[in-house]
């Protein structure tokens, strides 16, 4: 040992290099931890999440949706178990949405999973499987999930959105419906009543305005 130290004392250049190497090796884990927030989780939770994300990728599902959920949980300082539960639930819903809708786009799958997360049943998504080319159901799903989140009963929201979709409602119609219903809810109206009231005002529900689905 003393011989080793003596060698180090008489070799200033290698010593400085060694010091740099030690500093870098020491900083490596810290830097890696900074760059990936998931390292803040306990190893079990992190491994489970990575497994779920990899499984989603393998199945062709939008894995970024799961990773984003985990990152959000870390940012909110939620404990690992709850984050794993949320990621696992979303993975399951993505699979259900895929099984129901077929090979649609990743964004639509995420939106459909969000509708299921809000409380819709898989069978309620079935009418959205049949669609014309270039028509996507993103707006319908986003408005549907929002209405349920704001307190509209799931069955009523499902029925209203599905009917509008089958009547060929445009994205603007869905957005207009959302705008008026959320405005009514903010004014204090009952969410279910607000939807029933506003759904009658949509162009597709006006007499003689039946639209053929595009």
């Amino acid at each position: 040992m003393s011989q080793f130290l003596s060698v180090l004392r008489h070799r200033r250049f290698p010593v400085s290099l060694a010091a740099v190497a030690f500093a870098l090796l020491g900083a490596l884990p810290a830097a890696a931890q900074d760059s990936d927030p998931l390292t803040k989780l306990d190893p079990n939770s992190r491994n489970t999440i990575e497994l779920l994300v990899d499984s989603a990728s393998t199945l062709g599902l939008p894995a970024d949706y799961l990773r984003s959920t985990a990152l959000q949980g870390v940012a909110l300082k939620v404990d690992g178990k709850r984050i794993v539960d949320a990621v696992r639930k979303k993975f399951s819903l993505l699979k259900t949405a895929y099984a129901t809708l077929g090979p649609v786009g990743g964004e639509e799958l995420k939106a459909a999973a969000s509708v299921l997360y809000a409380g819709a049943k898989p069978a309620q998504l079935t009418p959205f499987k049949a669609r014309q080319k270039d028509r996507n159901d993103l707006d319908a799903f986003v408005v549907w999930a929002d209405l349920v989140t704001r307190g509209v009963p799931s069955e009523e929201a499902s029925s209203a959105i599905t009917k509008l979709w089958q009547d060929g409602a445009s994205d603007a119609t869905f957005n207009g419906l959302w705008n008026s219903v959320q405005s009514d809810i903010l004014k204090g109206l009952n969410p279910g009543a607000a939807l029933q009231s506003r759904i009658r005002e949509t162009p597709e529900r006006q007499p003689g305005n039946k639209v053929t689905p595009p």
């Binding site: 080793f4 060698v7 180090l8 070799r11 250049f13 290698p14 290099l17 060694a18 740099v20 190497a21 030690f22 870098l24 090796l25 900083a27 490596l28 830097a31 760059s35 990936d36 927030p37 994300v53 990899d54 062709g60 599902l61 939008p62 894995a63 970024d64 799961l66 990773r67 984003s68 990152l71 959000q72 940012a75 909110l76 939620v78 709850r82 949320a86 639930k89 895929y98 090979p103 649609v104 786009g105 990743g106 964004e107 939106a111 969000s114 997360y117 409380g119 270039d134 996507n136 993103l138 707006d139 986003v142 408005v143 999930a145 929002d146 349920v148 989140t149 957005n175 959302w178 959320q182």
Partner: protein, 198 residues
């Protein structure tokens, strides 16, 4: 030229020169001590000469191992950093080979986020586009009033986001809500279609 051709006088000098000089040990020590005591002449050199001048390094096995470990560490560090940057910019290890991407255009659109918070000291936006990191996208207070804004390029699709007002998360009152993920907070949804946002 060979020795037989030398002048006898030169030959006698050469003979004297070839004869081994015998000195006693003490005298040799004195001479060597005097030589060692002499300062080594330093030739003035330019910096670039010193940098590029070849030299030999005597490294112990331990030092060599440490240097090698350091170089490997640098490689791993750079690789990890580059990988994480790619993962962050793509929003995760995306392998959408089976499911076709959305029918929406894939080009980016600049989306303006606006939040009214006159009393706030610091507002930022977090979402799936920045890894939910509240330090990454701070919003700027408009000169008049308490309106905070930020412009962000977002890819086409459905984005979840929230505002962070002085550390507290808040949904956007002017956008649709997504259900709570089980974390006790509902996010807002922004739909981006290539050239516009909902």
């Amino acid at each position: 030229m060979i020795d037989s051709e030398l002048h006898p006088y030169v030959e006698s000098i050469a003979r004297e020169a070839r004869r081994p000089v015998s000195t006693d040990r003490a005298a040799r020590e004195r001479i060597m001590a005097a030589v060692r005591a002499e300062p080594v002449p330093v030739r003035p050199r330019h910096v670039w000469q010193r940098v590029f001048e070849p030299r030999s390094l005597h490294l112990s096995p331990a030092s060599t191992t440490l240097i090698a470990a350091g170089l490997v560490g640098i490689g791993v560090f750079v690789g990890t950093f580059a990988h994480n940057r790619d993962v962050r910019s793509s929003g995760g290890p995306s392998q959408m080979a089976v499911v076709p991407q959305s029918q929406l255009p894939v080009s980016d659109s600049t989306v303006k986020f606006v939040f009214v918070a006159p009393q706030a000291g610091k507002v930022s936006v977090v979402g799936d586009f920045n890894g939910w990191d509240s330090t990454k996208t701070p919003m700027v207070r408009e000169p008049n009033g308490g309106v905070w804004t930020v412009d962000l390029p977002l890819s086409a699709g459905r984005h979840l986001y929230s505002f962070v007002v002085d550390g507290a998360w808040s949904a956007d009152p002017s956008a649709p809500l997504a259900p709570d993920d089980g974390f006790g907070h509902a996010n807002s949804v922004k739909l981006v279609r290539g050239g516009s946002a909902l």
